[in-house]
């Protein structure tokens, strides 16, 4: 499945991968472990934006709230960026380690061009270390530890066009750590009429996020929990910067949706859900979609059971009761809460089964039954 440099010579890159992807094809990322060839990522390592140079060739990253101080020859927490003699560079530019042509519903973005696909890619690394990470083999890896594709921003945009996908999604890991690739690709895509969405933990500083707002079309933010203790202990991050990002997105008019991976005993407390719903209503309004997603044991949390359905349904009830209009249940294919219901007439605006759209009654952004204007980005 690997794509060699040779395939790209003569402009064959996008065509070659597009042929492999097909309409809804998948190129699965793979982790280089024992016996696998390691990626060569050190040949092109451009300087990243948003960092300060300190004495003795140290640097301080300003990309995310971690603001890592990184000595010469060392890497930041994310593992994607390295200090080379006082210059902070990204190691995986043009080398995504995962590449798929996903339904946009898989992100999940339910109010953004439903029924379309997104060329979805990731580079290795993350600025969190969530004990429950569902993609830890790439998010917690360094770029050289995973297989990579040779795919520069122009190739990604060309690939999306050839695959007939209107969107590029930066996802799987944490796009904040491969900011430069994401920004360059999104900017180029914008010129070519290809949209971009960021699937993120929201742990990014305001300045880089503001700049991104100029080239992105939507953001999905993982709302890990409404608890600082959860963020610090389970994710090695903090809650407040994530809330700040959400408020920033709201202020900028960026379309965004929230995902809440509900983990038994750790972030399923009804009182905490109620507090979160109150904060969302106060700061983001009733129309931001929330997806309560079922947890499956992974990475460092293999000792817990998958989320009971009743926990997800209870959380949904709490949020709907607080006034939120679009609350979904995810990772439970066939559940009625996968559908979009019109807040005005209660009719089904979009009927889903998993990632498949079974029925779409949204017409020009309005409910097909009553004409109510539905929030989102529609075809």
């Amino acid at each position: 499945m690997g794509i060699t440099r040779r395939e790209f010579i003569g402009g064959a890159a996008a065509a070659g991968i597009a042929a492999k992807l097909g309409a809804a094809g998948v190129l699965v990322s793979s982790v280089a472990s024992g016996g696998a060839a390691f990626a060569q990522v050190t040949d092109y390592a451009p300087e990243v934006p948003y960092y300060d140079k300190l004495e003795n060739r140290m640097i301080q990253c300003r990309m995310c709230p971690k603001e890592c101080r990184v000595g010469d020859a060392e890497r930041g927490f994310c593992g994607n960026k390295e200090n080379r003699g006082g210059k902070y560079v990204t190691l995986a530019y043009g080398h995504p380690c995962a590449l798929n042509n996903d339904p946009i519903e898989k992100k999940p973005l339910f109010h953004f061009l439903p029924g379309t696909n997104a060329i979805s890619l990731a580079e290795a690394g993350c600025n969190f270390d969530c004990k429950f990470c569902q993609n830890w083999q790439i998010s917690q890896a360094r770029p050289e530890q995973v297989h990579g594709y040779d795919l520069m921003p122009a190739d990604v945009v060309a690939l999306a066009a050839r695959a007939g996908s209107p969107t590029i999604a930066y996802t799987y890991g944490e796009p904040t750590v491969f900011y430069k690739s994401m920004y360059d690709t999104a900017a180029l895509g914008k010129e070519k009429g290809i949209r971009s969405v960021m699937i993120s933990n929201g742990y990014i500083n305001p300045e880089p996020m503001k700049a991104l707002c100029g080239v992105l079309d939507a953001v999905k933010v993982d709302f890990k929990a409404y608890s600082e203790a959860f963020y610090s202990k389970q994710c090695l991050g903090h809650l407040k910067p994530v809330l700040d990002t959400l408020v920033l997105l709201r202020g900028r008019g960026m379309w965004f949706e929230l995902v809440y991976l509900m983990i038994p005993t750790l972030n399923d407390d009804p009182d905490e859900i109620k507090e979160m719903a109150g904060w969302i209503m106060d700061n983001l309004g009733p129309d931001v979609p929330m997806h309560f997603s079922r947890f499956h044991p992974q990475y460092k949390l293999k000792n817990l059971q998958p989320t009971p359905l009743k926990s997800l349904e209870r959380a949904r009830d709490i949020c709907m009761g607080a006034g939120m209009n679009f609350v979904y249940i995810g990772n439970v294919p066939g559940h009625a809460a996968e559908n979009t219901y019109c807040p005005n007439c209660g009719g089904i605006a979009i009927k889903r089964y998993g990632y498949v759209i079974q029925q779409n009654n949204v017409k020009n952004g309005k409910c097909g039954s009553c004409g109510y204007v539905l929030p989102g980005v529609w075809i």
Binding site: S33, F38, R57, E74, Q140, R142
Partner: protein, 350 residues
Amino acid sequence: MGGGKKISDDFSRREFIGKAAGSVLGLMGLAVAGPAGAHASPGVGGVSEARTRTGRPKVVVARDEGIWNGSRLDDVRVRELVFRAVRELSGKEDDGQAWAEYFDRGERVSIKLNLIAGRILSSTPAVAKAITGGIMLAGVDGRGIAAWDRYGWELRVAGFKPGRDENGVMYTSTDDSAVGYETELSEWGEVGSLVSRLVSRFGTAIVNVPVLKDHDLAGLSGALKNYYGAINNPNKLHENACNPYVADLNMIPFFKDKTRLIICDGTTAQYHGGPGYKPKFAWRFSGVIAGTDPVAVDTVCADLIDRKRVEQGLPTLEKEGRPPLYIRTAGDADHRLGECELEKIDVVEV
């Protein structure tokens, strides 16, 4: 100790490949054990633990300014320096007996170098060669020895030639296509990492060869921290001055149970601005620091760094607000990896 068959009897290339079907380490000619690390000899705290008659851990600081021949190291003098340290550590006057205190004939020895800082401030080929020579004196076949760090390019930059030397010793790296990391997490405390298969599968014993140097975040880059170069995610373990991460990492059985000997390369050392090489803070310590207790070795190394810092008019690591906290954690009741009180260590200078 001893009594084992020659490693070549057990692990000829052809036989090995047959035994370890699918093993990529086997394909490169490196014998492997299962990831459980079935090894015959106890490691830290076992028969090879160096203590003085008082029962206190012993750390040997051996120095010789004559190891330098201009800007180059004299291999013969370095060998004598390292051997002197091991003789003193073991209490044996005979070199063969001294090294045999730490290694059985049939073992496979994994030598973890520290090559992050380039040619001048990395574990040196001269010290590595002296160590491999000593291990072979203990009866270990050269083909049962691998010296390594993370990347092949680091080996080359530091002056090593990847591949086997004239004695069969393999110089290699985790990023070699035939090596890699385990795919199952090893976890202890706050650490969850994938371990280099040169630790988990190849080595029945490890020689830890750090460099005597300052670390801007952790305070010290010594023996305990050197194992950051043996896992997939060291970048996740640098917050809070690497504490308790360094100590927790060393609790993982692959490291705790297999570490047999520590020889810190102090031919060139650095008292500030590490881990990268900064010429203005580097000096020729012209020595090695040897021990079997990694906490005691690091405690002594931190003291040596502090002494040099004071001599140069800099505050101690403690006064500068970046003491190597993880050393004390490694010595606490939850870890018990060794002795972290300098006054409870017998430091022998030779």
